[in-house]
Structures are given as C-alpha cells and as structure tokens.
Chain length 340, copies 2
C-alpha cells in the first residue's frame, strides 16, 4: 500500500523554502525507519518554484507529484474569500485531494480559519459532530499531555466540550497508546463553583459520561505537570494558553542564553552542560509537537504552524502519516457512534 500525503506548499509564513525541505526531511525519516508502506507526496503550488527547490533532490522527486496552482492563501485573507476561490488555490486543491480519495491526508501551514473552512466543505465532518477541534501536544514533567481546542472554536457549548473530550481521548490513544486517559477541564480554580457557566455545565456532563475518565478542573499552572492526559478548553482560552506556554519557553531560552554568555566561567560551564541541555531544550521546542489534526472530520487534515521551519513541517507530515496508518477518522466515527 502507498500512503499519499497532499501538501499545500504555498501556505504559511515561508512557503516552498521551508516546506519542501520539510517534505524531504519527513521522507528521509520515513525511509530510514524501514516502513512497510510506500510513501508519496502531492505537492500543490507554483510549479516553477517547486521545481527549483527539487532540482537536486532526486530521491524526493521520485516520491512526488507536482500539481500546479496559481493562487495561494495569505495569512490575512478571510476564510469566506478563500472558500470562494476553492480549488483554484493550492490549499483548496490540497484539501480536495483528501475528499476525492487521491490522498490519505493533507498538510498545510496556511491560516487556520481558511484551512478549517475548506476542510469542512470538502472533507466534511461526521454526522453528529458539532464542530471539529484542534488539539496540541504539550510537554510535561511526565511526558506529553493533549490540550484541545486550540483555536478552531472561540465559543464552546458544554456539549461541544464533551465531544472534544471524546475525540481527544481517541487521538491520544491512537498517538501514545494511552488506554483510559485522564481528562480535565481548564479552569481558573479547581473548586466546583469556579469558572464560567460553560465549564461548570461541562463538568456535570463529563462526570455523567461513562466513557470519560473525568478528574476535575485543572489550572493553568498544572498544564505542564502531566496530571491530566487530556485538557479540554474552548478555542480562545486554549489558543492563549498554548501560545503563552510557547512564549514563556522562548523567554527562558533567551534568559539562559544571556546567562551562559555572561562570564568566562559561565561560557565554559555551558560547554560542559551543552549535550545534557540540548535534550531539555528539545522537550520544550514547539517544532517537535507541530502538526495537529482537525478532529471530527471524515478525513485527515493536519494543521502545521504558520511559522514552521523544515523540522516543524516534517513533524506535521509525520503526524499525517501516523494518523493515516492508525485510521484516526474511522476510530473517531466508531467511538462517537457508540457514545451517542
């Protein structure tokens, strides 16, 4: 069997200069792991630009099909505008490839709103899914937790939060093999009376649901402790929590860099710790958690950060391949049918 991934090469802040090397990195990794499936990429975008980056990449070239598209999606365009352009854009046609069965999954760094809108139109959601959600893995002292929604839905009803919990549990099971993940709701306190009506009502729904291993509210300072496998929140709060986490990691990396270059002794000390530190840095490096599926779709669409470099793009593609092999949409459909 061949796994086919469609890639919107024009999306995000950088386009081909980062995305093509990202595809190459993902291919190298895939082949080095000795997988049983063949792998193929559909690259959607400006053919000339794509060819110029593929010039000396003989191996990658063999695993690619280029599909020329004149139009790309900028970060500022409104989703409605992109939807009108549809398959004329590299994003729209990359998404459509999943709907037609030409690809098992689509990966794009383009703006979330446009990507989500096109995915809902072409790939469609499962019956009963109120709204798709975007999850993200968060580094913790124990390993990884999953947080969702990260920005697809700025206002969420308790029922939506319940579906996010169910879909998040399936995703973390497919990705990390966690059988009965602990689930918490992000809130400003752990006491029952704390928070908005939506989180309080959601807590009641979670408690009453047989498939959900609900463990209560969780505060922002506990996200990174790993005490919950899945952290459920609305897209506004989740987006801000995730980005605050990333911004804090950047601040601390900056402070450490300053500290290490402060004196002769600290420079020497840094050289001695460098190898051990690089592991710690990697744990909080957002590029290694890049790639989030839109959960609730009938196919696989993986959102990559707009500012992803090649390492980030390669990780998003790895998520796409894993989820294709794990048949994520089928698992979500099955679970949702059992639970409703």
């Amino acid at each position: 069997m061949t796994i086919t991934i469609s890639v919107d090469v024009m999306g995000g802040d950088y386009g081909p200069p980062k995305i093509i090397p990202g595809v190459k990195l993902a291919l190298d990794f895939y082949l080095s792991e000795n997988h049983h499936h063949n792998i193929h990429f559909l690259l959607f975008g400006d053919e000339n630009k794509i060819r110029s980056y593929l010039k000396f990449e003989t191996l990658l070239y063999k695993h690619c099909t280029i599909v020329h598209k004149d139009l790309s999606v900028s970060n500022n365009e409104k989703p409605a505008q992109i939807v009108r352009l549809g398959v004329k854009t590299s994003l729209g046609s990359a998404v459509k490839a999943v709907a037609t069965g030409d690809a098992h999954a689509v990966v794009s760094c383009a703006n979330t709103g446009a990507f989500m809108a096109l995915s809902k139109i072409y790939i469609k959601t499962f019956k009963g899914v109120l709204r798709p959600a975007i999850p993200a893995f968060i580094p913790t002292t124990k390993g990884l937790s999953l947080m969702l929604d990260l920005g697809a839905n700025i206002k969420c009803s308790p029922q939506m939060l319940l579906q996010f919990a169910l879909m998040g549990a399936i995703y973390i099971n497919a990705y990390l093999g966690i059988k009965k993940p602990t689930i918490g709701i992000l809130n400003i306190g752990i006491e029952e009376m704390k928070g908005t009506e939506a989180v309080q009502e959601a807590a009641q729904l979670f408690k009453a649901h047989k498939s959900i291993n609900y463990k209560g509210f969780i505060e922002g300072n506990k996200i990174a402790t790993g005490e919950m496998d899945v952290i459920v929140t609305d897209g506004f709060t989740g987006n801000i929590a995730l980005k605050t986490l990333q911004g804090t990691a950047t601040l601390i990396t900056h402070l450490l860099k300053d500290a290490f270059s402060n004196t002769f002794l600290s420079k020497l000390g840094y050289l001695l710790c460098k190898k051990s530190l690089s592991k710690a840095y990697k744990i909080v490096d957002k590029r290694y958690y890049n790639g989030a599926p839109f959960l609730g779709l009938r196919g696989i669409a993986i959102k990559s950060h707009g500012d992803s470099d090649a390492v980030g793009v390669a990780n998003a593609i790895k998520v796409a391949i894993e989820m294709a092999k794990n048949k994520l949409p089928e698992r979500i459909e099955k679970q949702l049918m059992m639970d409703t």
Copy 2:
C-alpha cells in the same frame, strides 16, 4: 508620617509560619533602604500563634500591633459566607482597617473572591468603576509588562476592559514610571477580525480613546516579549495565561535541574554557571512579582498568592508600601474623572 499596613496573618495555604517571616523580611528591607517614613504593621489573627512567631523578633515586635481574631478564611469557603462573618474574621477586620483609616493598605493571601468581596463592601470602589481588576507584572525580555484582569472578573464587557486599560496604565506609571505605556488586548490573532465580540468591540473603544496608547491585539506567545507595557484581558483568560506562564517556568526549571544533574560534566558545568543562572531564575520566579492591588478601590488592598512563602509575602508588602506612598487610589480617581 507612619505608613501602616494591615496584614491578614491567617490567610493562604500556610498562615503565620510563612506570613510572619514575610512581614519581618519586608521590615528589614524597608529599614535597610533608609526610608523617610516610619512603618507599622497591624497583624490580624490568632494572638497566641502570632506571639509564638514573634517571640525572638524584638525589632519586628516594636513595629507591630496584634489584633486577635478567632476566625480565619479557608480557601474553599464561598465569598458570601465570608461576607456574612465580616469583621469576625482576620481577613474582614484587616480589610476594615483600611476603610476606617487605621491602615494605609491591607495585604492578604486569602482566597481572591472573599478578599475582593470584603474590599468592595468595606473599602468600596470609586464612582463609575464598573468592577475592580487585578493586575500582575510579567517578566519579559525587555523588563516587565503588566497584565490585567487576572481573575477578579470572569466575564468582561468592552467598557470594563477599557477601564482596566486606564487603571493599568496608571498603575504601571506609579510602579515603573512609564509615562505613556503601550497597551494591547490579548487575543488569538493580531488581525482585526480575530477573537470574540468583546475584544473586537473593546479594540474600537481603545482606538477612540485619547488617553490610551493602543497598539492592537497581542497573542499569547508575545506576552513575554515586552512589546506591550499593558496587556488587557478578561479575568478568565488572564488567570489562565498567568498561571500557564508560571507552570511553564516550573516545567523548564525542572528540566534544567535534570539536565544539570545528568552527567559528571554537566554537574561541573552547572557549578561554573550557577551564579549567572541564579539571576535568570530570579527573573521568572513568581515570588518576586507577588502582590497585586485591586484596582478601582478607594483604598489599597494587595492580594498575595495563596501559596506565598516569606519572600512572596515580603514582596506583596513592598507593593502595599509603594502604592501607599504613591497614593495610587487618588491617582486612579483623578484619571478616571478626567476620562469620563
């Protein structure tokens, strides 16, 4: 002139064992700085417990008056319950001391809801203030930014956010001397169409207001860059952003500790960097930013973290003293009158 600070010694996770040493630390610091004012503390709580911690503290004893109170406020009690008990509690009577003019400011580690409710009843808000807000200083690559609200108001109207911006600007001016602070609204994107209706409407109000140096939306990953002096948000989002920031700092400190103790070389390296690193750690140590006033009150009430140790409590008291000297409430009243 004598500056009098009333302290709820029983509040928070620890009570007297951390709060009395905190008062001592604040006094030592104050006296070492050679200030022009005298300083005095009103300590509200269990007299026996307080006396046992003051036994060998001759200097501190001279600067204190103990006011015995049988009742204290636990973290789980509902604000309404505390309000009924009023001045029978150490918290209630400590707050009341500001209202009666016996103290210039009150400091407590007790639960925010109860502290805020009592402050509104006894100290009262200025005419026209919709709701008091809680700000916090955030470490950034450039120094400090101020974020508010941090949990006093879980739902905020655009008009409330506008007042938060005005009060935040006065506070950062009083604290750091920043004359025309840049102001941003926390959102999930910087584009105008992004976010909830409340933040979009607030953006229009901010733009139109002559006293506000509005610079647009700011995302979570930019909080710690220092590009905005004041970051305005509702209390739900702000609370989660602040705590996520603190939790991420804890995670990274944990990862670094592991990295430094990893090999013989990394242990040696750590010893060489230790001094430079301790400065970096201090920058992200939340104890040094502890102490947040309820902005909009007619007097000064400083909320200290529930889990504050002596260093944290001492910093909260420092904020109380600074704001008393700077006549923060009078400045807020004056500015709000000019702006409405």
